[in-house]
Symmetry: C2
Subunit: 213 residues, 2 copies
């Protein structure tokens, strides 16, 4: 198909398609004559994946490029794609506060990971984020809210098993690798969205209970 | 204290403190002489809260301003602060895809909310995000991954109850309102971080099991 048809089928404007192509997110089409390029269903799918990462997942162009390079790599694995997708969605932690606070928080996170029987290492993109969050809660004297971390961790552990089980049904390595990318990028957004709905519900029920008390 | 001392105690540079003040995030200090302004512990705490929202939570200046206006409102409530904080951390959903796809996804989300016994309404900031996510999964023919939504929802429901229970221990309305803001802004980040650690663990255990099989 020509670029106009590709735009029509995906809802992505032609200049945007050209931009993604220049930025290395979308493979070039096949040149069929000096001024005509043909695209196929693979381009349709790739454009949908790009839009999912950028618009729904909020990734930067550079982060999406890293993820797609892994998706396209001949050496791609589910575990490798998970690492790259995780790095892409994680904001880097800026080290603030005293070194002592930071070390204490590091030790707390290590202990939490050990308590949940996890083998993950401090190189995991979530690890430093979590240390920064603990430092922040402590800095604001809100250590009271840290009791929630064990509950989050227990839920995260259960969900991770369910996520990998869902992936196991995908028929091919490509399907699994794409699934782990989507699960990381959209799964986070889905969990956050559901947390908002559940929190509103819990809060309004509590408010109602207080009113009728 | 003077602004230099405020900067030293919070680690926030003087020009940044002035910027937050101009942007309406930090209340003005008390002018004690024509060229001297005094700040107090309230300013220290507020600066820490601002940094938590901007640097750890990734909020924009405008979103942080909205949240702080609610924190400072004489009519503040936990339920109100939750709504404002939720809106601040939610990326707005851009409606893409056909109207039919969108309506089908709306119906799926309504059904999910009903199934979990929630009273939340489509105005909840998470609702439209979730509809967009469902549209995206369907558009990519990855309806197989939607089975995870019920698991996320069940976990989100349990966590919301635990979050509100943790808040109940805060001694004052101010403490509760601040707690709900931090819980929304940092709680999302904490959950995402723990998901990365748990996913790495689950994935590496699965990889290990395959290798030894």
């Amino acid at each position: 198909m020509r670029i106009g048809e590709l735009a029509r089928r995906t809802g992505v404007p032609v200049p945007t398609i050209k931009y993604y192509s220049r930025e290395g997110l979308l493979p070039a089409g096949e040149r069929t004559s000096p001024n005509q390029v043909a695209y196929d269903d693979g381009h349709v799918r790739r454009l949908k994946l790009i839009r999912a990462m950028l618009e729904v997942g909020g990734l930067s162009i550079a982060a999406a490029r890293d993820v797609l390079a892994e998706v396209d790599s001949p050496h791609r694995t589910v575990h490798g794609a998970l690492g790259v997708a995780q790095s892409a969605v994680t904001r880097s932690a800026s080290e603030r506060g005293g070194q002592e606070d930071w070390e204490r928080a590091e030790a707390e996170v290590s202990e939490l990971v050990r308590r949940h029987g996890w083998t993950a290492k401090p190189e995991n993109p979530g690890w430093q984020s979590l240390v920064q969050i603990v430092v922040t809660y402590r800095d604001l004297d809100r250590g009271d809210l840290l009791v929630l971390l064990d509950k989050y961790a227990a839920a995260a552990g259960e969900l991770a098993s369910a996520e990998l089980a869902a992936l196991a049904h995908a028929p091919s390595t490509d399907g699994k690798v794409e699934g782990v990318v989507l699960g990381t990028v959209l799964g986070d957004a889905a969990m956050s969205a559901l947390r908002r709905i559940a929190q509103e519900d819990a809060s309004s029920k509590l408010q109602g209970a207080r009113r009728s008390a």
